[in-house]
């Protein structure tokens, strides 16, 4: 691992409210791994897919302000939400490829006293964990191997798509590897990168419930004891609606759903409070009891 790896950490909106546990566990496992995460000062919402659906240029301004803030700090951005990651990463690419756009966006940044010269990268914390910290560093920190625990890695849409840069877009395996490094077993399940429906859970509940329900069922049928995710929206969809989905689709889909950072922390022997495990809606005892001593 590169010495003194420090990034501008971008928690994103949902990790400050509904998905605080992701933020807490990320900061704590990063400390153990020696990855420096300094929260990007006064970051703003990335605009998400929602703003892109309303106005492209303004959506670009939301991203560009964050990119400019990180550039001022001289650090690459690390996001934990797959949605933030794709949106920021895509804006960064469009700005690099289209000089006219870059000029226009810089003009608007200037109205707020900022500018952006396209000097930084946007990355996801899972990518940093697997490719920067890497296998040896992770294995070294495991104090409580999760022997026998079967974990379903749920990637969702946006971590390897659309860029195909850090992992395979059809069959990603970053989390599969990570699970093995923690001493657990990764189960194969066919829906690991199928969309959970995202906001459909709110806007079209029957559709969202079906998409999410099949993912839960696919993981259970593969024999998983728990699911891990790398995206707050996926996590909320998979975890918070299990009762409703179970009733509507008439199937048992109860299964613990954790962030990959929480699972890592469990194997690193971190305290429950350092991983905000109390904020899980599904019981996580199976996961905890699997940890060896």
């Amino acid at each position: 691992m590169t010495e003194n790896l420090t990034f501008a950490y971008y928690p994103g909106c949902s990790a400050t409210s509904t998905n605080r546990a992701y933020d807490v566990s990320t900061r704590n496992v990063a400390k153990v791994l020696g990855i420096g995460l300094e929260e990007l000062n006064d970051w703003n919402c990335c605009g998400a897919s929602a703003y892109l659906s309303v106005d492209e240029k303004k959506a670009m301004v939301f991203c560009a302000r964050n990119l400019a803030l990180a550039e001022k700090e001289g650090k690459d951005i690390v996001a934990i939400c797959s949605g933030c990651y794709v949106v920021l990463r895509k804006a960064n690419q469009h700005l690099a490829e289209d000089p006219n756009l870059a000029a226009e966006i810089n003009k608007s940044l200037a109205a707020g006293g900022m500018s952006y010269q396209n000097s930084i990268k946007v990355r996801h914390f899972l990518d940093i964990t697997v490719h920067e910290a890497g296998q040896d560093a992770v294995r070294d920190r495991v104090t409580h191997p999760l022997t026998g625990l079967k974990v379903a890695p749920y990637y969702g849409c946006m971590i390897s798509r659309p860029f195909n840069e850090v992992d395979d877009e059809e069959s990603p395996r970053m989390m599969d590897d990570l699970i093995e490094w923690l001493g657990a077993t990764a189960v194969l399940f066919p829906l690991k990168s199928k969309c959970c429906g995202g906001l459909m859970m709110t806007t079209q509940p029957p559709v969202g419930q079906q998409l999410t329900g099949y993912i839960l069922r696919s993981a259970k049928e593969a024999g998983a004891d728990c699911i891990i995710t790398a995206c707050p929206l996926c996590q909320l969809n998979l975890e918070a609606y299990q009762d409703t989905i179970g009733k509507t689709l008439d199937m048992d889909c109860r299964i613990p759903v954790l962030y990959f950072t929480q699972l890592m922390g469990v194997a690193f022997g971190l305290d429950k409070s350092d991983l905000a495990l109390k904020e899980c809606i599904t019981p996580v005892e199976t996961v905890l009891s699997s940890r060896g001593t």
Partner: protein, 191 residues
């Protein structure tokens, strides 16, 4: 709108789609249907992804815009990574959503378009999302009575400290507002 007017508008908007990054590639669509087969919600769309491209070429864009299609796209990028012609179809869907918002041609009380409009209002005001306000705005736009149905979920999330009631305004909100005012853009973004 007469048929020829609609066609003319359709052609104008088609040029617009060609203008997005990678947009020219829509001319290379071979109608293979890979996008439709990869799409998690295509079975519910009035126009499937493949049909969208066929309809656009036939100058039927206005019908696509009025349909539920753009609002059933979850932006999952499955179509885009599999398209043999490398058409960034997810971005085509984004452009269709923007056009529909701009023209106000989304279906009445359509929940997904109400969601994106509510969301953009909230982040324009605070610089960050504020869930409680977003939920309020969204249900006022769609079906206020359904707010009550959300109470159990809100209680569940509150019990787990997973809901923030008070919005956080970023320090640089004035600067952000100036930047947003200064950028051109397709339209005001204030539907």
């Amino acid at each position: 709108m007469s048929e020829t007017q609609a066609q003319k508008l359709g052609m104008e908007l088609l040029e617009h789609i060609r203008g997005i990054p990678g947009g020219r590639s829509i001319d290379k669509c071979i109608q293979c249907g890979t996008c439709t087969g990869s799409c998690p919600t295509s079975n519910l769309m009035y126009f499937s992804p493949r049909q969208v491209l066929a309809a656009l070429r036939a100058g039927m864009l206005d019908q696509v815009l009025k349909s539920n299609t753009p609002w059933f796209c979850t932006s999952c990028y499955s179509c885009a990574v599999r398209c043999p012609a490398k058409i960034p179809f997810t971005d085509v869907m984004y452009e269709l959503k923007r056009m529909a918002v701009k023209q106000g041609s989304y279906p009445r009380r359509d929940p997904a378009s109400a969601m994106v409009r509510s969301f953009s209002e909230v982040v324009r005001r605070y610089g960050r999302n504020a869930e409680a306000i977003l939920v309020g705005k969204y249900y006022l736009r769609t079906n206020p009575l359904k707010i009550l149905g959300q109470v159990p979920m809100v209680i569940k999330l509150l019990a787990k400290r997973r809901m923030a009631f008070f919005p956080h305004k970023i320090k640089g909100i004035d600067g952000l507002k100036k930047m947003l005012a200064a950028v051109g853009g397709n339209h005001e973004g204030k539907p």
